[in-house]
């Protein structure tokens, strides 16, 4: 069993805002991240898959194929978008790094080839803040 990681990136706007709360409570909890006019980040996404090394290719998965899948199903949906307004799979969700990592996991899983399983989704919101999701 070998882990293989592909790194991709996207740039997006978002805000942290709970619509069930008052503006004051949102500002108290989320601080400047609640700015109603949005702010944004350069996100860096690390997708790690695991699988057996195939005898004929020496690969867990062709990294080019993994890159294409991540770009098609994740980056195309998120890059240069407003995460709160433009992204179908984040609708009705708080656009935290945590929730985004979980959503990315569920978006990507169905598209991986047989024998290749997702191990982790690591998402950097800034160079100093990142989250990891392992599927449970």
């Amino acid at each position: 069993m070998v882990f293989l990681t592909r790194i991709e990136h996207f740039n997006a706007a978002h805000k942290l805002y709970n619509a069930a709360w008052s503006k004051e409570k949102n500002e108290e909890v989320f601080g400047k991240c609640a700015n109603e006019n949005w702010h944004g980040h350069n996100y860096e996404l690390h997708v790690t898959v695991k699988g057996e090394v195939a005898a004929d290719t020496g690969f867990v998965i062709n990294a080019q194929i993994l890159s294409k899948l991540v770009k098609q199903f994740i980056i195309e949906e998120l890059d240069h978008k407003n995460l709160n307004l433009d992204v179908e799979f984040m609708k009705e969700k708080l656009c935290s790094a945590e929730n985004l990592a979980i959503a990315i996991w569920h978006q990507l899983t169905p598209h991986l080839p047989e024998g290749v399983n997702l191990h982790s989704v690591k998402l950097y919101e800034t160079p100093k803040i990142f989250v990891e999701y392992f599927g449970s």
């Binding site: 997006a12 706007a13 700015n35 702010h39 944004g40 980040h41 350069n42 407003n82 800034t126």
Partner: protein, 138 residues
Amino acid sequence: MNKKVSVFRKEHFCAAHRLNNPSWSKEKNYAVFGKCNNPNFHGHNYEMEVKVTGEPAADTGFVIDLKYLSDLINETVIEKLDHKNLNLDVPEFLDLNPTAENIAMVIYNILRSKIDEKMDLQIRLYETPRNFVEYPAS
């Protein structure tokens, strides 16, 4: 003997923006600015390097006190730009497209008036780890 030394302070801010020229059609804006024109904005982690060049003072050995420079950048630039929408929240960009080039010039103009004229000032602004600009160009 040339005694000039350059000192640098790095700071960062996170902001949303979009590139749009209001005098152009929607189609032309999209043709020129592509996905950066998204009406709902997108965003970046901007990194900036402020470069101050001058002769170290005889009494302190400093070109400029870097704590003072950091405080100055935070109070005059980061407070204005961090976690903001550059198009909507920052008056300097009401009629100015917030490209990395224009952001660097705005930052320069803010800081230039507050740093001794004897010192040279240059701003390097990273919009992404791979795209960056410098002003003034040298």
